[in-house]
């Protein structure tokens, strides 16, 4: 599974993109974030306040409850500020 990080989530996590194999017990985005936070300080820092974290599963907006099984690409980013 490919993970992508954008804007300050990328800066705080210290990574733009990575390929990971998820432990089998991870069901949803919430579980994925908890697992990522065990992988290093950067992730802990990036995901410290989930109220300002947005995600997309296979390029569609998701939330903490969105299932991750079978997903090819999951992205994390702050609330968008384009336009």
């Amino acid at each position: 599974m490919k993970l992508l990080y954008f804007a300050w989530v990328k800066q705080k996590a210290g990574i733009a993109e990575e390929d990971v194999t998820l432990p089998g017990e991870i069901r949803d985005v919430s579980g994925l974030i908890s697992w990522l936070k065990t992988r290093g300080e950067g992730y802990e820092h990036a995901f410290a306040d989930l109220a300002v974290i947005r995600c997309a599963v296979d390029q569609e907006h998701g939330d903490l409850d969105t299932p991750v099984a079978g997903a090819k690409e999951i992205a994390f980013f702050p609330p968008v500020t384009g336009g």
């Binding site: 992508l4 954008f6 804007a7 300050w8 997309a56 390029q59 569609e60 907006h61 992205a75 980013f77 702050p78 609330p79 968008v80 500020t81 384009g82 336009g83």
Partner: protein, 148 residues
């Protein structure tokens, strides 16, 4: 039609391309968003980051939703990415319809949805500091009003 590009756009040329040869359009609205120097000369540049792939999908989806809600004869969204300076164009939305209210509403809708759903992020550089622009609560409220 949607485009994500680093180059500037020309409002007049885009409008001409949409309307030339047509006699059925009665009303055409354009919205242009520009890099604003909010602190009187202190913003030296802006960087527009986006999520390639998802950005295009979201813009197509948002445009399709506007076309479902209003009888549009033409619509266009252009969003720039990369490095921009104060005064530069960021985004162009064009809507055309037989009647003006539909054109106005659809353009406002496109901007409200784009502002809250299209994966773009602005970073402002001010002198030697740079910071990510915070999302505005009012943008969420503006988008929410279309749900009713």
């Amino acid at each position: 039609m949607i485009r994500v590009q680093t180059e500037d756009f020309d409002i007049g040329a885009e409008v001409k391309a949409l309307t030339s040869g047509r006699t059925d359009i009665g009303a055409l609205v354009t919205f242009t968003g520009l890099v604003r120097d909010t602190n009187g000369g202190t913003v030296s540049s802006m960087e527009l980051e986006h999520y390639p792939g998802m950005t295009e999908k979201e813009l197509v989806r948002i445009e399709a939703e506007a076309n479902e809600r209003w009888p549009l004869q033409a619509s266009l969204i252009i969003h720039r990415v990369g490095k921009l300076a104060p005064g530069d164009n960021i985004v162009l939305v064009v809507t055309a319809s037989p009647h003006r209210q539909a054109a106005f509403d659809a353009a406002a809708f496109l901007m409200d949805y784009l502002k809250t759903q299209a994966p773009f992020w602005k970073r402002e550089e001010t002198g030697d500091k740079s910071y990510w622009v915070d999302a505005r609560e009012s943008d969420g409220e503006a988008a929410a009003k279309w749900d009713t």
